[in-house]
Amino acid sequence: MAPKSKRRTGYSRRAQYSDFFSYIAGVAGVMAGLAVLLGSLTDHAEFAWARSAASDIAVPIGRLAAGTRAALGHAGETVEGYFVWGSQNAALRREVAIARVRQVQMAGMADENRRLKALLQLSQAQPRPVASAWLISSTASSARRYATLSAGRMHGVGVGMPVVSPLGLVGRVVEVGQLSARVLLLTDAESVVPVRRASDGIPAFATGRADGTLQLRLITLGVNPLHVGDSFVASGSGGLYWPGTPIAVVASLTHDGAIAQVLADPANSEMVVVQPEWNPVADGTLAPEEAPSVSGSRSGHSSGHSAKAKHRK
């Protein structure tokens, strides 16, 4: 049955006008939305201040949510542990036995590696973390893949800095607020990371597919040399991402590359570390005097770096 319409304006001129003007306001809203949308599509960074402010406000709630999420995740693992402990225990014992042998071999190799690097006078490029923080929220309902980080300008985080978890690269910072920062996750379609195969250094580009996997595109054309299970690390070419950061493992092959599974699944890596940008010019093996002038040419990315370089002087 149709309800009695309380919303008919009747003969009241005042009600008629207010009804009419609310429609006008609605249409004006559509136009305003269209205008703002066109503005933000032409310049992505245009409303960064608004987004930063909104995420700064929500940091305390986000911290709480992240803590709860971590606790619940561990609770799940604990319960699961009770069911599988027997077989898992046996399997782990076997693995530990094998790993002990490997450890000795690895120690030898690490030592050899160190000596060889010293011989070549390569510096051990180990980034000092800028900050460690929680991933507090994500854009779970949008087709874009962003996450919010619980550290911002106050903690030294700057635009362009890579964000890593113990398992590998998570993404990079794209917008910075006072208390929070916005991270473009590796799996977003806009994220492109130069990578190389860990075993032999075949170069490729890893582009996000927005569903937890990456599209690997090989730079050299020819017969696809990839295999399922190949692991890829950041190559560091072009700067930004530290070379050797684990990225992904090939899950299936395509005609010109592969689909790879991201190693640092952000769903499992709430605690992350923000690294300074990898800047090949700042490498100790190259002339350090050149650093500020060259990084100045990439001013969009490395403003934080040049500021730090000044500080060192």
Partner: protein, 184 residues
């Protein structure tokens, strides 16, 4: 059976004299719950795939269907603006789509004034599907990846979850009209 939570408080309070709904609460509750829903959508997980129903939009639909006329037609502008700040969509996406939604619902109500659970759910489902598709297309324009396969789980989940959101909004509405202590 005893009621729980806010509804119980409202029931108890309503039996006492010298109590009246607070105008502030009555006006602000719909706006506040929609903003809250926009924020809550991102919290439960760091998602690698878009699966979360657009909670802010669902709350807007639910309030609009529960109380036509409570939110003005232009409500999509401020609410969509806040949703855009947290949703990851390019700014203006929700301002545009939520404003269109408010006008569309007004027209639908004008043509088909009948109301029951199934009709409202069907109308809401249509709006949800259109909204998610539009949002995905806008995200694609901004550099995201558009794939029907990618958003299908989200579409289904959002349509199924809508009645639950509508129940939560109905519960918030009980709170909205809670009779607080009135002076004089």
């Amino acid at each position: 059976m005893k009621q729980f939570g806010i509804g119980r408080v409202a029931g108890k309070r309503s039996q006492q004299i010298s109590r009246a709904p607070s105008p502030l609460v009555a006006y602000l509750t719909p706006w506040a719950t929609i903003v809250l829903a926009s924020y809550l959508g991102g919290l439960p997980t760091i998602a690698t795939t878009p699966w979360m129903p657009p909670l802010g939009f669902l709350a807007l639909l639910a309030w609009r269907q529960l109380h036509p006329g409570l939110l003005p037609i232009w409500a999509g502008v401020p609410l969509g603006c806040i949703d855009d700040m947290v949703s990851g969509q390019p700014m203006g996406s929700a301002i545009l789509t939520w404003s269109i939604t408010m006008i569309a619902l007004e027209l639908i109500e004008f043509r088909w004034p009948w109301r029951n659970f199934l009709i409202e759910w069907a109308v809401a489902a249509g709006m949800i599907v259109a909204y998610i598709l539009a949002a995905a297309l806008i995200a694609h324009l901004a550099g995201g990846r558009f794939s029907l396969l990618l958003i299908t789980p989200q579409l289904l989940l959002a349509v199924v979850v809508y009645p639950v959101v509508a129940r939560c909004v109905a519960r918030a509405d009980t709170f909205r009209l809670t009779r607080f202590w009135a002076w004089g």
